[in-house]
Amino acid sequence: MSTDDESFHPLGDEWEDELETMLDDTEYDSDLGMEMAQDAMRVTKGELSEAEFHEKHHEAVMEEFGEDERPTKEAYEAAQEEAKGTASRMLDAFDGDGGETRRETMKKMGVGAAAVGMGAFSSTRDGPMESLSAEGGHSETTEHSDTQWGMTIDLERCDGCLTCMTACTQENDLDAGVNWMYVMAWEDELHEGHEEGTDTGVYSSDFNMGSDFNMLVRPCQHCTDAPCEKVCPTTARHTRDKDGLVLTDYDVCIGCRYCQVACPYGVNYFQWDEPHTDYEDIPKAKDRDVDSPDEITHAQYEHGERWVDSRAPRGVMSKCTMCPSMQDGQQGDEKVGTSACETACPPNAIQFGNVKDEKSDPYQHREHPSKSRAVIRLSSEHTDSSGIPSPETIDGTLSSDDDIESALEKFENLDKETLSIMKAVELVSDRTEPGDEENNSILRKEQEVVAAVDAFEQYVDLETDAAITQLQLGDGSERQARFRIQQYTGKPNSFKLLEDVGTNPNVTYLGEQPGPEAEQVEGPTKYEDVGLVDKRQDLLDEETVGGIDGVSL
């Protein structure tokens, strides 16, 4: 138990004095900083509750910085966090609008806290370490951003065409065999695979449910509690505070490969030799409107830039980045909130976006899989239903004496089933506005469906018993509508990969989960056929000095 006149620091008074001198150099009240660091230490030891910490320092912080966004006491007491998460969050409570207060508070507490062994504080005094320690990246730091890029991937829409893999390879100039995005077919006892002699195996519907291929699409999961980051001896592998992307700083990585060892998903690819694309050639590869490769390879941080994107240089680790140069707007505003693989995927199986935003595609698709599937399908050009008529078209086409049959005849692409699903979507929709955030296409399309149905109903009443029956919507209740949608799109399971390992992945899957004994099998498209290499070891072995073919430990 430390009392006020005792040194709080294990190294004793002298060290503490030194810290105090360091604090004096910063522009704010050093006593406050020291006292807060001491109390933070006590919180981590459990001698002080977080609520008490805030109670105690609220006024002083207000006085010093003029703001204190303190969460409620209840919220704090509810959260029982480990020491470091606690410390980081406690600081956050003082966060002002632009994060200024947080930085200043950190500046103050940082010196003391770094010394008491709380990594999350670290030193934020001006210097080369500043950016690194502030973004120094440990899992808990993402908690306070309201952006977390991630994906919801519909495995039953994936037809194994490998387009996402080639798109990723091109976008990032990856060497052969460096498959940041990896798509595989698999089977296990409960999920039989494709049998020789049958056709392509891809069912003719837009859903792969009837296909005999079970697919798995495997990017990096950008885990919230990423083991790869935890083990990294250099902080090269880090989580970007502002959006939760797990990235590798190619300028810091020493190539120890511990991240590859610790990641349970096997998504890391080391750059064993000189990459095949020269750095200078990175922007030229495509029609990108940038002046230098740096704009594609360097991502934006609170404190400047770090080289984290595109293929890695020799001797360091690489993996799927979820395209930070797009998220930062370096490739144009229209690409914010998208990824190369998402854009490329023909059946729209990949929904990329902010998984914390209720209106985002991945969120909607995860929470309302059947409805979202229906919406995606209704408005997808890829499908044979090829879009829904706009309200204007409907206004110009229908007249009030139409009934369902006659109305449908007036539209080339509209059949009874499509209308039925549109009405069902309208019935279950809670009409949430999509907002103007990036990548809210599912809600936007849902609105289009609802608007079309509304326009349609100006002319034809779809709520009469007869109409409901005709549209196979049961009793016309929301429940029956949901059931109708499920008949149409299926009701997929959702899961996260290896949830038991505790990584908190940010990719959610819809579809069948591979069991523990699942084995990869040959998929509908061969890797070689689209110019990809599956077994990188074959290429690496060619360069091995004095290796013996076919012999393995």
Partner: protein, 450 residues
């Protein structure tokens, strides 16, 4: 015991003689080290692609291999060495005093080799200082690799201090018989030496030894080093609480074997039959047997845990392990060694130093093989075992094999150099053998029963 009286001249002999054989061994070792340095230069130039390593997962390779296996093996030798020497000092096992310094030097050699491996293994060794030290205050909270580097550095400092302190006594007393050529070094070593410090140093060394013994299971090879692997849920072949004791037993086996081989070499080269006596070899062999038994017991625990109703991932890893021919050979070698050790314990006539040498070599081969396999096994049967290319393939490249030659040569050179500079057998040991030593009457070494 031999009838010859051990003398100062005996322990000074390596310093004051220069034989053809010495040059020969020195030359061979230098060539070995040089060969590896050239090969490493090539690796630096081309990248790690020259090794047999690869990406586990869709790529079908092994992320770590011989470099890391040999790294933990050398760390084991080093840690075992210092534990051995600490035990001699702490428990007053005066019988082993003549080899205590050899064990300490083994530690320095082992740690040097291990440190070398860390650098050789990395993709960007040039960033070692900036990237690791620069972020140390953050990473030390999380990364087992940083813990490793920390304890290895700490133990290097500890062992060097330990060795340095005990050398002051000897160098000061034997100064007149030491070559003038190294005078500056001796001056630095004995800076500020007075006879009065002997007692203080004795006490300091005792405390250092106590620290080593206490921390060995907690922080050294029984803790931090296995945690590099045992904490990761991704690789069932590595996980489990048994890895701590397992690593510690391997460390002690390897170190004892190493010390037997080195002692054998010195005894032969300098006619030290009366200093490193048969008795020491017999004793060391029994200790080796004891730790080998522990090792086999831990292996049994680890494997049986997997194959009886293990969770699937663990079961696959354990099945693959016992099915591996090299694993069987390694365990077979170690088991055969154990059988011999116990047999010679019961029938002393079976003992010979040559046999002790053979057994030591067998155990070292066995532990090295086990270590490398252990590392590779992780990548062959991971928890997420869906990839068609996993288990992949890995076979060390010529450069990786050469690293074993290089690091062994490094350690040999270290011994050859040190033996020309300072006595490798303590003066205390000679005094003790002559019965002059103040503590000799209280020699309380517990006899090891077979």
């Amino acid at each position: 015991m031999s009838t010859k009286e051990p003398s100062e001249a005996d322990i000074l002999r390596p310093i004051n003689t220069l034989t053809k054989k010495y040059f020969l061994v020195y030359g061979i070792a230098a060539i070995g080290l040089l060969a590896f340095i050239v090969a490493w230069g090539y690796q630096l130039q081309k990248g790690l692609v020259v090794t047999g390593l690869g990406d586990w997962g869709s790529g079908g390779g092994s992320t770590w291999g011989l470099y890391i296996g040999a790294f933990i093996w050398w760390v084991g030798v080093a840690h075992g060495g210092i534990i051995l020497s600490a035990a001699v000092r702490l428990l007053g096992m005066d019988r082993y005093m003549p080899i205590a310094r050899l064990a300490e030097m083994t530690t320095i050699g082992g740690l040097s080799a291990a440190g070398f491996y860390i650098i050789v293994h990395m993709g960007r060794p040039d960033r070692m200082v900036t990237s690791i030290i620069g972020h140390y205050h953050i990473t030390v909270n999380n990364s087992p690799l940083v813990w490793d580097v920390t304890v290895i550095t700490a133990y290097f400092v500890l062992s060097a201090t330990y060795l340095g302190l005990t050398l002051r006594y000897d160098v000061n007393r034997l100064r007149d018989d030491l070559p003038d050529m190294f005078e500056p070094i001796y001056k630095i070593m004995t800076i500020g030496y007075t006879k009065r410090e002997d007692e203080v140093i004795q006490r300091m060394v005792w405390w250092l030894a106590a620290a080593v013994i206490i921390m060995a299971p907690l922080l050294l090879h029984g803790g931090v080093i296995p945690w590099l692997f045992a904490l990761l849920p991704a690789m069932p072949a590595w996980t489990g609480a048994i890895q701590g004791p397992m690593f510690l037993s391997i460390a002690l086996m390897s170190a004892i074997s190493g010390v037997i081989i080195i002692s054998y070499g010195f005894r032969r080269a300098y006619d030290w039959d009366h200093i490193i006596t048969d008795d020491i070899f017999r004793g060391l062999l029994l200790w080796l047997g004891f730790f080998t038994l522990l090792f086999l017991w831990f292996q049994l625990q680890a494997v049986f845990n997997g194959i009886f109703l293990g969770p699937l991932d663990k079961a696959h890893a354990a099945e693959a392990k016992i099915a591996h021919p090299l694993y069987r050979i390694a365990i077979g070698l170690i088991f055969a060694s154990l059988v011999y050790i116990f047999a010679q314990g019961i029938r002393p006539a079976l003992f010979s130093k040559k046999r002790a040498l053979v057994v030591s070599c067998a155990v070292l081969m066995g532990t090295l093989t086990e270590k490398v396999l252990f590392v590779v096994e992780g990548f062959m049967d991971p928890h997420f075992n869906i990839y068609a290319n996993t288990p992949g393939s890995y076979f060390p490249s010529a450069i990786e094999w050469l690293s074993l030659v290089g690091t062994t040569a490094l350690v040999v050179l270290l011994f050859l150099n040190l033996s020309k500079l300072v006595p490798v057998v303590e003066l205390h040991a000679i005094e003790h053998l002559r019965g002059e030593h103040e503590h000799s009457e209280e020699a309380t070494e517990p006899e090891v029963e077979a």
